[in-house]
């Protein structure tokens, strides 16, 4: 039996898709964020070889389509390394790597935005590099980077939609399923679009709230 009309169950389906989208978004943000910060630290400590490698990788990931990265990981990696990857695993690897590349770029420019004198002053006081990084650089860099990071996250949320192409049942894939079944593309894609829009707005709102709090903190410290 074919349901060509919308059913109440479709709402559940949409919400399931949204939850898959959100979970991959959050997971790849956390992993990618940590990885990107690690990359930035490698650069900060001027680790030889690794530093150039990280930079080259970030450039490559920034300047190529996420869809191709996704194909490389999902279709290419298993063949090359003789492993099995589920679509979700491939999606998580790709999205995390992509997020890491952009977090790296933002983190590097945030660190560079902090004046050299401050770091030298801290060093004169005998603080170790690690303490300087944690206590002096990190808090200021975060306040500087939170705006670009929010923009990045809104963008990365939209990028997750591409994982539907390799078969992950995310919000876009649910849209595909409903579209094929009901043949009502305008309604289906408008609803899917609206869900993405609202999620993006929520991310942007959270980012601006956080930014205000962080800025208030640095302002207060400045007094």
């Amino acid at each position: 039996m074919r349901y060509t009309e919308f059913t109440p169950y479709d709402i559940v389906l949409l919400l399931q898709g949204l939850s898959v989208t959100l979970w991959l978004f959050v997971a790849s943000t956390l992993i990618g964020g940590a990885l990107g910060l690690g990359f930035a630290v490698v650069r900060y400590y001027r680790v030889p070889v690794l530093r150039q490698l990280v930079h080259g990788l970030a450039e490559l990931l920034k300047n190529s389509p996420v869809l191709v990265q996704l194909f490389l990981v999902f279709f290419g990696l298993p063949v090359l390394m003789k492993i099995n990857l589920t679509p979700s695993q491939a999606a998580l690897i790709t999205l995390s790597g992509n997020t890491a590349a952009f977090v790296y770029v933002i983190a590097v420019s945030a660190i560079e935005a902090i004046s050299r004198e401050q770091i030298e002053a801290a060093r004169v006081f005998g603080l170790t590099r690690w303490t300087i990084l944690r206590r002096v650089i990190a808090p200021q860099a975060l306040a500087f980077a939170i705006g670009p990071l929010t923009g990045l996250l809104v963008n990365q949320l939209q990028v997750t939609s591409l994982i539907s192409v390799i078969g992950v049942i995310d919000l876009t894939k649910v849209g595909n399923i409903l579209n094929l079944r009901t043949l009502k593309p305008f309604i289906v894609w408008a609803v899917v679009g609206a869900l993405y829009y609202l999620t993006a707005k929520a991310v942007a709102y959270a980012g601006s709230r956080l930014e205000r709090r962080l800025r208030a903190h640095t302002d207060w410290k400045g007094v």
């Binding site: 490559l60 191709v68 090359l80 939209q158 990028v159 894609w189």
Partner: protein
């Protein structure tokens, strides 16, 4: 089965056809984005609150919904309303509309950066509002917009890969076919990744050169 790029050699002509289609689609979308961006930027800086409101909504909506969702909306939706066009024009239209949102931002910034005094001089000299826009505002704004437009164009190139999902055999679509034929997805997609990176470097280099050429007089030295 190690990493062996030589298997790609005989597929290069086919991939070049895909590259050509990517180029055509991107040029079409760039033209569409610029035209749309100019109109929307004009609305966003217009005196009419309605024009400002509507254009701001357009930008907000199309920047916060994933491109693939927009693409499916048009690809599956247009036939519903009796418009039967092929994948390539559909792709150009969808890319233009998405790119137009970003382009309008760039051009709007260019317009807002114009010194008010210059516009006052034009107004006082008796030029009509339309003439002021076409003869003074737009040429100045476009000149300052060239470099940021390069970034928009890079994004168009990367985003155009998504058109492979609506059966368009542009660069990514062609690579998919080659990957399936050769059973060497890793080599194919790795090469594709590098190819896109080179393409985007070429695009930003080109825009940088055009920027320098067009603005060679305005940066000028005092004689």
């Amino acid at each position: 089965m190690g990493f062996d790029l030589s298997i790609l050699a005989k597929h290069v002509p086919f991939l070049l056809e895909g590259l050509w289609l990517t180029t055509v689609v991107c040029l079409g979308a760039l033209a569409g984005s610029i035209v749309l961006g100019i109109v929307v930027a004009a609305c966003r800086t217009a005196a009419s609150p309605l024009a400002r409101r509507l254009s701001a909504i357009y930008v907000d909506v199309f920047r916060n919904i994933p491109f693939i969702v927009q693409l499916f909306f048009f690809y599956f939706g247009l036939p519903e309303v009796g418009i039967y066009i092929e994948a390539a024009p559909t792709g150009i239209i969808a890319l233009s509309i998405a790119g137009g949102a970003y382009t309008s931002d760039v051009i709007r910034a260019g317009i807002l950066a114009i010194e008010p005094g210059i516009l006052e001089a034009a107004e006082v000299s008796g030029l009509t509002r339309r003439k002021i826009f076409t003869k003074v505002i737009l040429p100045i704004a476009l000149r300052t917009s060239i470099r940021p437009l390069g970034a928009v164009c890079v994004n168009l190139v990367l985003t155009s890969s998504v058109l492979s999902t609506i059966t368009l055999n542009e660069l990514t679509g062609s690579a998919k076919i080659v990957a399936a034929e050769t059973f060497r997805p890793f080599e194919v997609y790795a090469a594709l990744l590098v190819a896109y990176a080179c393409l985007t470097y070429a695009v930003s280099g080109l825009f940088g050169a055009v920027h320098r050429h067009v603005n060679r007089h305005t940066a000028g030295e005092v004689a």
